[in-house]
Symmetry: C2
Subunit: 92 residues, 2 copies
DNA sequence: TAGATAGTTAGACAAACATCTAAATATCGA
DNA sequence: TCGATATTTAGATGTTTGTCTAACTATCTA
């Protein structure tokens, strides 16, 4: 189930988008200013992130505002946490 | 720099390999028993994980034993941790 | 309602990826 | 050294991905 999330994180542009949204919610246009790719390409990345559940979008007039979905982020962190403390996990 | 790590995690077979190695070190052959893909395909996945620094390998006679490199795993976790506690990060 | 602005959808294309079979390398045991 | 076993490397192939331009949809403003 979290497979889409991991795939979404594989691209550096998408990771950077998440980092920007961590600071503050942004419109698609504001996000676009940070990258050297076309708006359709950025839109495609946003759709990938949305599909993975990592971001949500909401229209405000002409703009569409994107926000981080921390819940899904937490799920991914949960997977990673299984790899910390491996010593204690074993029956030893 | 952690880009290779994230790309390596994008594939479900590779994530499963990491989960298996979390339990115990394995030879390439032992790992292969858990998957329905050819040995060369598995070897390719292992090379990807090795290239990302997520696993290390060591030859023991005829076998090559793979182990998790928890250090690089921790680096990835570090990236995720930046997404927890976002409220406290802001100047508010 | 017409024009401008914000953003997405459609379609094409090259690069990257996962997979396979066949062949090569490395080690062990007789 | 020869044959068997473990694994990787090479080369080919179909699929997925990231990118683009062109066209479309939605909203605002005059």
């Amino acid at each position: 189930m979290p497979g889409e999330g991991f795939k979404a994180l594989a691209d550096p542009t998408r990771r950077r988008i998440l980092e920007l949204l961590r600071e503050d919610n942004c419109t698609a246009g504001e996000l676009a200013e940070h990258f050297d790719i076309s708006k359709p390409s950025l839109s495609h990345h946003l759709a990938t992130l949305k599909n993975a559940g990592l971001v949500t979008d909401e229209r405000h007039g002409q703009n569409i505002v994107y926000s981080l979905n921390t819940t899904v982020m937490q799920d991914l962190i949960g997977w990673f946490m299984g790899f910390t403390n491996t010593e204690g996990d074993k029956d030893e």
